[in-house]
């Protein structure tokens, strides 16, 4: 079976801090990582390959340094990696990104299952997966916490507000996965060495059958016009007492005074 995993290199947003004086982001020392949910996607593909055989191809659209992210996925055990990179793709929103990825995946030829992380931790949109499925005209199952394939039937457990939805569908298909689906493996030393010898395929705008008007910023219906730091909640009353009971009684008294409880 042919598995395609979409990955994105992202700044580790959990390590980003705000400079309280200038109210700007402190990015120094913030490492670039493989989007954590995409690692779950790679792991899911590797496990399905172990059960059903086939090939796992990881694909990323991004700047040249996104190659590092692809190499990490190769070290985990992916078979091939494709980097879709060109200045023509810069400034792409989710629609232009998904269109570009769709043309790249069509160029790859046959695929059975595309797996994505549920969202990237820098943009948090969760839109590229469904938009990609739409461009390719294949069904989708989002927020999957379990995938089982038997006889071309795919059974998916999907995390939902009310619990778990169980869906059944057929290949070809796009699935986005949540963190609880698995624990991504760490690259082994052998895997890392093997990955370092593998060539990463680079596709630029000239390699793809694309409508140039649908690429990058020009092909993006949405535009970011302003960035600012969020309004912080203001700190209220801090209760520090010798005993837990004294603190609780003071809190409950305050809440009663404010008619909250």
């Amino acid at each position: 079976m042919e598995f395609v995993v979409c990955v994105k290199q992202v700044p580790n947003t959990t390590e980003v801090k705000i400079d309280p004086e200038t109210n700007t982001l402190i990015r120094q020392g913030v490492p670039s990582i493989v989007n954590p949910f995409d690692k779950n996607a790679v792991e899911a593909a590797l496990r399905l390959r172990e059960q059903h055989g086939g090939k796992v191809t990881v694909i990323s659209m991004g700047p040249p340094q996104a190659e590092e992210a692809l190499r990490e996925c190769l070290a985990m055990g992916a078979d091939e990696a494709i980097l879709v990179s060109d200045r023509a793709f810069a400034g792409a929103d989710t629609l232009a990104t998904s269109y570009t990825l769709a043309t790249a995946i069509e160029k790859m030829g046959h695929f059975d299952l595309i797996i994505c992380g549920k969202q990237a931790i820098d943009g948090d949109t969760a839109q590229v997966g469904p938009e990609l499925a739409e461009h390719l005209d294949i069904p989708q199952a989002t927020y999957a916490s379990k995938i089982e394939i038997a006889d071309g039937n795919v059974r998916i457990e999907r995390e939902h507000e009310e619990g778990i939805e169980v869906l059944e569908t057929r290949l070809p298909l796009l699935i986005s996965v949540v963190k609880s689906i698995n624990e991504p493996r760490l690259p082994t030393v052998k895997g890392t060495m093997k990955a370092s010898r593998k060539a990463i395929v680079l596709w630029t705008v000239n390699d793809l059958a694309v409508d140039h008007a649908r690429l990058g910023l020009k092909g993006s219906p949405t535009q970011v016009v302003r960035i600012f730091t969020p309004k912080q909640r203001t700190q209220g009353k801090l209760i520090q007492k010798d005993t837990a009971r004294a603190a609780v009684l003071e809190l409950l008294g305050n809440l009663a005074d404010a008619k909250l409880v």
Partner: protein, 397 residues
């Protein structure tokens, strides 16, 4: 459009480098240079003391006749035979947008025999209700609902479409936007109308909640956005309001629906209803071990609330991921949010900061959660929680 540094004017002060949220500004020789990581967000434009950073606009091809589009729509998501609160919250916001644009507000209802819900949407502010009914819509499916909503939009050409940023809303919205080739902004927490253009200003947290971005969709229609639940208040229903109900026959063949819902497995239903809960008690890493979460459950039970968890607690396997509150979990906005043993990472704050009152219990007086809390108790949760439960029970709760 591009943003670039006019190197002749750059004085090499370096102020712009840390201002870029994406690390796209680098030194090239002794001058600042913007590389391909630039997302054109414009964060650097204002910080340059000599205005050497400039935005250059290119002509964009405009393919959509914007004047043919009018009206604000809200997609009403159902759970079984009732409407999710987020739809009503969006009707309240949609009403403000529609009034400011002097256009109509419509609700979109898709389901099997759901006309009985139409009056509810009118009471919340809709002038018109588009009803698409049929057995094929009994449960949500990406294929049937995408077809119905995309066809409706093509037929009636709204200018703005709002959906709740729920699991299904975030499944449906990008699929529809992809089909229509229009712009979609995810997980908005702020909506407004730009005075000079009449465009919707979509504001959303990004970068793990560290920054807010305001986004426009200038040349494509409809302008679409998903909006987080509980950010806006549900309007008080006005049952005197009247509106028009439009039945639209859009049918989907069984063969067009490529996914089949087999069953729904409930997970701790009573304490899981985080989106609708008025009180939420959440636990974090400071709870120490999974057994201690029993105290969180007990306090939630005493208060009639739901149980939440921080990412750390979920990652440790102490609580099911469906309980996770935060940027990558659920967004909640209860009347009272009680954070127990939660340090208050910005990702967590992004998921609960629209709560009316935040109470934090943490033994570290410097924990960031206290900066966001209306009331904070500095103390060990394992000592404070049992006393709090006992005292609340004494009050007859």
């Amino acid at each position: 459009m591009t943003i670039k540094v006019n190197s002749a004017e750059c004085i090499s002060c370096g102020v712009c480098l840390p201002a870029c949220p994406f690390g796209a500004i680098v030194w090239q020789g002794d001058k600042a240079y913007i590389d391909e990581r630039c997302t054109l967000c414009g964060a650097c434009l204002d910080v340059c003391p000599v205005n050497a950073i400039v935005r250059e606009d290119e002509a964009r091809e405009v393919s959509v006749d914007k004047s043919a589009h009018s009206g604000v729509w809200v997609y009403m998501e159902r759970v079984g035979d009732r409407l999710r609160s987020v739809g009503h919250e969006l009707l309240g916001q949609g009403r403000l947008l529609a009034d400011s644009l002097q256009e109509e507000l419509s609700a979109v209802l898709i389901g099997d025999d759901v006309s009985g819900l139409a009056q509810e949407t009118i009471a919340s502010g809709a002038d018109r209700v588009y009803l698409v009914e049929g057995a094929e819509y009994a449960h949500y499916s990406t294929d049937a609902y995408t077809k119905a909503l995309a066809e409706l939009i093509r037929l009636y050409k709204p200018s703005v479409v709002l959906l709740g940023a729920t699991t299904d809303g975030r499944d449906l919205a990008p699929r529809v936007a992809g089909r229509l080739g229009t712009g979609l902004t995810a997980d908005c927490t702020g909506l407004g109308i730009q005075a000079e253009t009449g465009l919707v200003e979509w504001t959303r947290p990004a970068f793990g909640g560290n920054i807010m971005a305001t986004i426009l969709c200038p040349d494509h229609r409809p302008q679409m956005g998903s909006v987080r639940p509980k950010v806006f208040k549900r309007p008080v229903p006005n049952w005197e309001r009247t509106g028009e109900i439009v039945h639209v026959p859009i049918r989907v063949e069984a063969s067009e629906i490529r996914t089949k819902l087999l069953e729904v497995i409930q997970v701790g239903a009573a304490t899981l209803n985080l989106e609708e809960a008025e009180i939420i008690v959440s636990g974090g890493r400071g709870m120490g071990k999974p057994e201690n979460f029993a105290l969180i459950e007990e306090l939630a039970e005493v208060l009639g609330g739901a149980v939440g968890a921080s990412r750390a607690a979920v990652d440790a396997g102490w609580k099911h991921p469906l309980h996770q509150v935060g940027q990558t979990g659920k967004t909640v906005g209860p009347k009272i949010y009680i954070a127990c043993g939660i340090s208050g990472a910005i990702q967590h704050l992004a998921g609960m900061s629209s709560s009316d009152i935040v109470i934090a219990i943490n033994k570290d007086a410097d924990a960031p959660i206290f900066k966001a809390a209306d009331y904070g108790i500095v103390g060990d949760v394992m000592e404070v929680l049992p006393v709090m439960i006992e005292e609340l029970r004494k009050q007859g709760r």
